[in-house]
């Protein structure tokens, strides 16, 4: 079933979200360099088209699971950047009251079941979310975002098999950025097209240019529609690239400057979508500038919100371990 092309309004929304991710991450890196964003920081810069292209099909009632590189998924799914930034600052107004940090941002109100510090940690959660939807007959779907590194962990196998055999409404979306932390995928995996692994589970595997937001939108749309109508999971592999290394501060000795520059200059998904929108007459230069300025202002406002928020108080330490206070 062909996926309907996105409306001009939808395209502008996607483009705005991609900029929101890019500028949020750049700001997070800056605040990290200033010692204000604390702890580990894994940015989604370069991979924006994947999260946005997929989540463009989802409702708040649909579910996603994420990875350690989760900010982009949060923003794509509609999370509030003020509460996200506050979480990165370790403040009580953050999504997790300052108990989670970058690797654990979740927003259950929009179906974002959490970033996850365990590689492949999202497979079980997404598969279970799909099972909940199937048991209820609710028509909800779940999307599991994961990296190429996660395809080498056991939960990839166990959960995709479960999702396949029960025809669960789950879409497994691989963000193949070519590196598992600091190790090139080709050094640890003979089969570099993760999409081909789908055949081992009897489900469709699709490969798409993850730097092309429209291509991601189309591939994800079909997979999500299939899942929603009861046809079971699809494994969608998006070939993408992380522009800024595994974590903020990564010296990136495992790849060349030329390789990075090639992707950033010639294959930036935001530039590509922006050029398309202008070519189609959907967006003017002036509108583009205004849009980016608005996003930048929103992010500065998020920083102000975070900075002016209080740290959690000591009485928070023992709360939320259980639903009740435990002696």
């Amino acid at each position: 079933m062909p996926v309907e092309a996105p409306s001009a309004e939808k395209l502008i929304d996607m483009y705005t979200r991609m900029w929101r991710i890019r500028l949020f991450e750049e700001q997070a890196e800056y605040q990290s360099s200033q010692g204000k964003v604390l702890g580990a920081l894994h940015t989604y810069i370069g991979e924006e088209a994947v999260g946005v292209g997929v989540c463009a099909h989802l409702h708040d009632t649909d579910y996603i699971t994420s990875t350690h590189r989760g900010h982009g998924h949060c923003i794509a799914k509609g999370a509030d950047i003020q509460r996200m930034m506050a979480e990165l600052f370790g403040r009580s107004t953050g999504y997790c009251k300052g108990k989670g940090g970058s690797m654990h941002i979740a927003d259950f109100k929009v179906g974002m079941l959490g970033a996850n510090g365990i590689v492949a940690g999202g497979f079980g959660l997404a598969t279970g979310a799909g099972l909940a939807a199937q048991l209820r007959g609710s028509g909800q779907v779940a999307v599991c975002f994961f990296g190429d590194g996660a395809a080498n962990r056991g939960p990839f196998h166990e959960n995709i098999n479960i999702g396949a055999v029960w025809k669960l409404p789950v879409v497994y979306v691989c963000e193949n950025n070519g590196y598992a932390q600091w190790t090139a995928q080709k050094d640890v995996t003979l089969v570099t097209d993760i999409s081909t692994m789908a055949s081992a589970y009897g489900i469709p595997g699709v490969q798409v240019d993850g730097m092309d937001a429209l291509a991601v939108y189309e591939a994800a749309g079909e997979a999500i529609e299939q899942a929603r109508c009861g046809a079971g999971p699809t494994l969608v592999e998006c070939k993408t690239y992380r522009f800024h290394g595994h974590n903020f501060g990564d010296p990136q000795q495992y790849r060349t400057r030329e390789e990075i520059a090639e992707w950033m200059e010639n294959n930036d998904s935001i530039k590509r979508l922006g050029a398309y929108l202008k070519d189609q007459g959907i967006l003017t230069e002036a509108q583009d500038e205004a849009l980016q300025k608005q996003v930048a202002d929103d992010i500065l406002e998020a920083v102000r919100f975070a900075e002016s928020s209080p740290y959690p108080t000591p009485d928070e330490l023992h709360k939320d371990v259980y639903s009740y206070d435990i002696a």
């Binding site: 579910y63 699971t65 953050g94 999504y95 997790c96 009251k97 300052g98 108990k99 989670g100 654990h104 979740a106 927003d107 259950f108 079941l113 959490g114 996850n116 510090g117 365990i118 940690g121 497979f123 079980g124 959660l125 997404a126 598969t127 279970g128 979310a129 799909g130 099972l131 909940a132 939807a133 048991l135 209820r136 909800q140 779940a142 056991g154 939960p155 166990e158 959960n159 098999n161 479960i162 055999v165 029960w166 709360k319 939320d320 371990v321 259980y322 639903s323 009740y324 435990i326 002696a327």
Partner: protein, 323 residues
């Protein structure tokens, strides 16, 4: 009051709660084909079609899927065929299930019940006979229930299925066929409420699981010698009813803690530490542990019988304590 087995008590609790709450469902290996190896889930598929899922042999998948569904409004009861196999799903238990409430700032409940057939039975050696309670009590976020009777098993299971937090439900396989009085009318047993199984004045035995029965047997023997032992069963290790345990120690001034876990780092070690810290002034003798040998479970019956503590061991320990 009718007498039923612990197996039937757990079976009945599942049936009653599934009838009451349509978000409860069951998943696990062979749970339809055989009702699981101990036939606990027999009849569920017929009575509640569509609410029981027979899974591949994929413990990480089972627990991960259970947790994911719990985050989305369901109440899964996952059977892990033997507690030994939970080792294949420890990431899902420790890093996901136990932590999601806290690390997401309390955004979600995590109402998962993992049924964990535990302990030795039928000579199945090192990888099918373990008692891993202490692994779970060590992880903040998990609750650990260890029923010792049919009555407790049913009441605790019903509470587990009405709570908001994950439960590691330890089912001692050797106790499945033990019969006990279970009322026909509705009841629940709250977590964190110990049960004094026998009153006594001379020494306290804090016992869990199969050691409760052995403690009662030892108390019977010692009573004939004029030594009156109090037997306290915590029933849940997390949350723990410290007040009842400490009150008993204050009364008897001598205490033995016992379980079937290997002794080193076991639950008895934690209980002994707590009592030593909190009740030091009440103690007339050091806290004594009676637990399993620090070995993998051997196969040969001549060796297996040396591993687990017996009623006689408790009798000897109490005699030494009160002399």
């Amino acid at each position: 009051m009718p007498k039923i087995s612990m197996r039937d008590a757990i079976h009945d609790a599942l049936h009653e709660e599934m009838a009451r709450d349509e978000t409860i469902y069951i998943l696990g290996e062979d749970v339809i084909a055989h009702g699981g190896p101990y036939a606990i889930t027999r009849g569920i598929a017929e009575k509640f079609p569509g609410r029981i899922r027979q899974t591949p042999i994929s413990e990480a998948g089972i627990v991960g899927t259970a947790v994911g569904s719990a985050l989305c409004g369901m109440r899964p009861v996952a059977e892990i065929m033997y507690v030994d196999f939970i080792t294949c799903a420890m990431d899902e238990v420790v890093n996901q299930m136990a932590k999601v409430r806290y690390m997401f700032g309390g955004q979600t409940d995590v109402p998962v019940v993992l049924r964990l057939p535990s302990g030795s039975a039928r000579l199945i050696a090192a990888q099918h006979s373990q008692s891993l309670e202490a692994w779970f009590t060590h992880v903040p976020g998990l609750q650990v229930a260890v029923p010792s009777t049919a009555y407790d098993a049913k009441g605790l299971m019903k509470s587990a299925l009405r709570g908001k937090d994950p439960v590691m439900f330890i089912e001692y396989k050797r106790l499945y066929t033990d019969e006990g009085e279970v009322p026909e009318e509705e009841y629940t047993i709250p977590f964190g409420q110990a049960d004094v199984k026998r009153q006594g004045r001379d020494a306290t035995i804090v016992a869990t699981g199969p050691m409760v029965g052995k403690a009662l047997e030892a108390a019977q023997t010692l009573s004939q010698e004029g030594i009156e032992v109090e037997v306290v069963d915590p029933r849940t290790l997390v949350p723990l009813d410290k007040a009842t345990i400490f009150a008993s120690v204050e009364k008897t001034n001598r205490v033995i803690v016992t379980d079937e876990e290997v002794r080193r780092g076991g639950s008895s070690a934690e209980l002994a530490s707590l009592i030593a810290e909190e009740c030091f002034d009440a103690l007339d003798a050091p806290v004594k542990r009676v637990a399993a040998a620090d070995v993998p479970m051997p196969f040969s019956p001549e060796l297996e019988k040396l591993v687990l503590p017996k009623a006689e061991d408790l009798v000897a320990a109490v005699r030494a304590l009160v002399s």
